[in-house]
């Protein structure tokens, strides 16, 4: 099941620098379908930079990221059509409602799923604030509104999530972990970082430690 053909995301000898500081070097992995990669490391070890490099946002100093065996740098649009990245920033506009924000995100990504927006908010307990401007939402509500994107982009095989569990209560954490497990079970690939040591897919999770 993990033959070379089913490798989705791979990295070869990545090295990244921030300013003049070398964050990490010689990072290589190959992530097949149906598996998760948990990136760990202390603050400043370059977890976020690695995730951004995997997305194609940051150009690694050395090395290459490949998606389905093809260099990401040369096939950006096709790669991005199969990728969801949620970073530190919520990518929510304070002046728009969560619903408007989500519709914009779906339009930008070319996803269909607008019909399920209301149902997703219902499931995440956001139905009451779906029509309030984001600026009036609590930190946890904002997080959930940002994560709602995942429920609507399930067709995309690769999810790269930077600290998805931050600022979530126990119930939302369990819901999200369930979604991530379902994604991996369904043959998707997942790369994420977390401080909470949450293994969403036990037995199918690789671990990558930066800065040891």
């Amino acid at each position: 099941m993990t033959s070379a053909a089913s490798v989705l995301l791979s990295a070869a000898r990545l090295e990244c620098r921030r300013g003049r500081r070398r964050l990490f070097s010689e990072v290589s992995f190959a992530l097949p379908a149906g598996r998760a990669l948990l990136v760990s490391g202390r603050n400043g070890a370059g977890k976020t930079t690695l995730l951004r490099a995997l997305c194609g946002l940051t150009r690694p100093e050395v090395g290459e990221v490949a998606w389905r065996g093809r260099a990401v740098r040369d096939h950006r649009d096709e790669y991005h059509a199969e990728l969801v990245f949620l970073g530190h920033h919520s990518a929510l506009k304070d002046d728009l409602t969560p619903e408007e924000n989500l519709r914009c995100a779906l339009e930008l990504g070319g996803d269909d799923g607008a019909a399920h927006v209301a149902a997703t908010f219902e499931r995440l307990g956001l139905a009451a604030c779906a029509r309030l401007p984001v600026r009036s939402l609590s930190q946890g509500q904002r997080r959930r509104a940002a994560l709602a994107r995942l429920w609507l982009s399930r067709a995309r095989p690769l999810w790269i999530l930077d600290e998805p569990f931050v600022a979530l209560d126990a119930e939302s954490t369990a819901t999200l972990a369930g979604l991530l497990r379902a994604h991996v079970d369904g043959g998707g690939a997942l790369v994420y970082t977390t401080h909470q040591e949450i293994d969403v897919a036990p037995g199918r999770t690789e671990r990558l430690a930066l800065g040891d």
Partner: protein, 222 residues
């Protein structure tokens, strides 16, 4: 892709509408700068007529440069810009759609306001028509050129000071042909040549600026 472009355009316009105080303040800035000149130079109608094209154009240039700060800064701060870079559409087109929305919120009000200010400067109706036409052609070019500067300075500390420094020299041709057209019309030489050059500049900026902006944004978010 069309849906994504329309989505960005509509979202930015909705945002501009919800933050209309910002739009209004750069418009007020434009009116104020223009109004300062009669106070500084005296209310002699002949003088005012002579300086009107230059004054209105310089004020429009400054005001649209001032508005550039809004173009990418908000999107950068909340992470939307990152998502734009990760969208499966060519970034240059997405940027173009943002610039178009920015122009509607910043350049179009200036163009609409200009005839009123032209009356204050005792300009003839025909010259006011030419002035409005030059602004209609010139302010989109200014937005396009300015967007490059805004994209290069996204997230930098000194961005507010840096953007005019980068953009104003590049915008000089637009200023020259814009103000020159009105001058020519006032002098009875006909503004056709100026207007077509201005149109040429706009076409050139339309073709080149989105690409430069896209490259600059990828560099700035690296």
């Amino acid at each position: 892709m069309w849906r994504a472009l329309k989505g960005i355009f509509a979202r930015d316009l909705a945002l501009a509408w919800r933050q209309r105080a910002d739009v209004l303040s750069s418009l007020v800035f434009f009116v104020m700068v223009v109004s300062l000149f009669p106070l500084g130079l005296g209310p002699e109608p002949a003088t005012l007529r002579a300086i009107a094209p230059g004054v209105l154009w310089v004020a429009a240039l400054l005001s649209s440069t001032l508005a550039l700060g809004r173009l990418f800064a908000g999107d950068h701060a909340d992470g939307t810009l990152e998502q734009m870079l990760l969208a499966p559409q060519p970034l240059a087109f997405l940027v173009l759609s943002k610039i178009a929305a920015h122009w509607v919120a910043a350049g179009l009000p200036l163009t609409a306001m200009a005839p009123l200010l032209g009356l204050q400067f005792d300009m003839a109706p025909a010259d006011i028509a030419v002035l409005t036409a030059t602004l209609a052609l010139g302010t989109p070019a200014l937005s396009l050129i300015g967007a490059i500067g805004a994209a290069l300075t996204v997230g930098l500390r000194g961005a507010a000071v840096l953007v005019p420094l980068l953009v104003l020299p590049l915008a000089i041709p637009v200023l020259i042909f814009g103000a020159g057209a009105v001058d020519a019309a006032e002098a009875g030489r006909g503004a056709g040549a100026h207007l077509s050059l201005l149109g040429g500049l706009l076409a050139f900026a339309l073709a080149g600026a989105p690409l430069a902006c896209a490259a600059a944004l990828r560099i700035s978010l690296d």
